[in-house]
Each structure stands twice: as C-alpha cells, then as structure tokens.
Symmetry: C2
Subunit: 193 residues, 2 copies
C-alpha cells in the first residue's frame, strides 16, 4: 500500500497527501474505479506506439491523424511535444498534419538537432506535398531558438511557406495583469482595426 502511494505521489502535480487520497478512493471503489483504471493503463502500456511518420503516440502506427484522409496533406504543424498536439487538436482549428519534435534544442541540457530528428522533418517536407510549415513551438527562449534553426534549414526549400503562431494578449487578458514581455510584443505587433 505504501509502495503504491509512493508511486502515485511521484506523478506530476501530485504529492503524498493527494496520493493518499487517490489510493484511498481506489480502495473504496475497487470494482468501479481501480479495476477499470488498471485495464485501461494496461491497454495503453501494451498498445501505445510512437507514430513512425509524425512521432505522435497512438494505438496505431501510422497514427490516426496521419492516416485520416480528410485532413490536409499540404500543411504541416511542428510542435514540441505530444501535449501541444493534444492542445491544438482540442481547439479543432487545425486540419492539417503534425510533426512532434519531442523537445527543443537546448545548449544547457545538451539537446542537439539529431535528438529532435530534424533530419526526419526535413525529409518529410521534401518528400510530401507540403506547402506550409507552421512552427507552433512554445514562446520560450528554447522554442524560439528551435524555430529559427528549423526556418534556417528550410531556406533550401524556398517554395515552402514558413509561419509561426501569433504572439500577443491572450483572449480575456487584462493589460494590468500581463507581464511586460507579452505587453511589449502585443504593442509592437499591433494591427489596424
């Protein structure tokens, strides 16, 4: 029991107290909570694979996004992480395909282009009928570095349009509560009304 609590408490966002609450809840509802959860975890552990095309994780390889024939094949959205892909899918705005880097370049943490499979990305862009690459990387220093690195390497393919996500005030954001960086970017990138 203690070992289970220790394992649960190491999951992101949880600590010993929340882990105990969760384990207690699972013990109380063994048949309705614990057993279905074990089954689903096992299913995922056995069947989840990394898509050999876009590096998304799914039960199929190629993943259900890569094999979806209703999606556009001429727009490729490059994201850092599967979590970012999920976030974009929830917004239901993007109808093209993805490429998951699995991180950013980082001199500090020693992540170089070969770790992100940027060669593989270049190959896809060259071989598939791609017209636009959207660099949907996080608005962090490492995200910017990675975006610039990719954009530079794609200059050999001038027919490809390279775009990045707009930066500015988030929807519902109040100026008074925004950091200066966001406010500065939003000011500089102002658009005619």
């Amino acid at each position: 029991m203690d070992k289970l609590i220790a394992l649960v408490s190491k999951l992101p966002g949880l600590g010993p107290r929340s882990a105990r609450r969760i384990v207690l809840h699972m013990l109380r509802k063994r048949d309705t909570v614990l057993v279905p959860l074990i089954k689903q975890l096992q299913y995922v552990a056995e069947h989840a694979k990394t898509c050999s095309l876009c590096r998304n994780v799914d039960v199929h390889d190629p993943c259900s996004i890569c094999t979806d024939t209703t999606r556009l094949t001429n727009v490729l959205c490059v994201v850092e992480d599967i979590g970012d892909l999920w976030a974009l899918e929830r917004s239901r705005l993007f109808k093209g395909r993805y490429h998951v880097l699995g991180g950013t370049l980082s001199a500090l943490e020693g992540r170089r282009p070969e770790h992100l499979g940027i060669d593989h990305l270049m190959m896809r862009v060259r071989d598939e009928p791609i017209e636009e690459v959207i660099l949907a990387l996080n608005a962090t220093a490492d995200g910017h570095t990675t975006a610039h690195y990719i954009a530079e390497h794609m200059q050999t393919m001038p027919h490809i349009r390279i775009t990045r996500l707009a930066q500015g005030i988030p929807v519902g954001g109040e100026l008074d509560y925004l950091d200066e960086g966001t406010l500065g970017t939003a000011f500089q990138s102002r658009l005619p009304l």
Copy 2:
C-alpha cells in the same frame, strides 16, 4: 488514450488538465513509471482485504496492526475512516489498536448504526481486554453525534474509560486566522499554565 484520461481525471483532486499531464508523463516513461504503477495497482487490487477485526485495509486479514504483538491490547482507537487511521499512524503517537467505522451516523445520508457495525465494535469492547476507548472522530457535527451515540451505548460497560481527542488551536495556529468555533472551544477548554 482519451478513455484513460477520462478515468484518471475522475480521481479525487484531479481534473482533465492534470489527468492529461499525468497520462503524458506515463506515456513518456512507460518502463519506469507506467509499468511499475500497473503492477502495484494490480497487486493491491488482488490482495487488499478488509481486516475482519478492525476493518482496516491491508494485504493480510487480520491486518498487520491487529496481529502486531508489540501493540497495546487494552486501548482501542475508534476512527471514521482508513484515511484517519493512516494519519494517526503517521504521527506515531498511538500504540494501541484501531476500529474503523467506515463513516459517521448521518440522518441526512441515511447512515444508521447498523451501517457502521457498531454492534461489532461493542462485541470487541466486551470480548477483548480493553480498558480505554478513544473516540478519534472528526470534529464535525456528524462526528460528534456518532461519538455521543457510541459513548451512550458503552454506559452499560462502566469499567471502560471513554475519551475523545482534545480540541483547540492547531500547532502553529495564529488567533487572527482561526474561525470563531475553534477559538471559542480553545478558550473554554483553557488549561492552567
């Protein structure tokens, strides 16, 4: 994957966002996080039993507390819930045995004495060499009702000392931040210095 996120997000204290973070983490660390977690969950699901003596949950029946011969047999601590038992065990102050009610009496939620196995508790107090019963119930209205109900039923056994936990200012508590109920109780129960 979505089904797993849905199951995880229904655990206490978690929501869709934290569930996604956890599932993502488990996918990234399949061998070091997901697989050990599944194994431990399975072990608990298969082996956890309710102790027939005290209604604690353990992999043995009777539980390791009831069979621990170094523990006092003459003091019995009555708690609402397994979580309360764990909390007392963490404090390492109590060296007797426990009795888990599994809830409180509640007219509103229709929990009557037979649901809490109070007969079973009475039997233990009668048959075991118990000298003191500590009613370590929560300081809530239902907890008080339950404590009074049990104390009343034990009046047929006048040789048993019945006690309850002290109420007052928590350690480190500042008067300014305490609710009036706690402050009032602490004031009324003041002790000579």
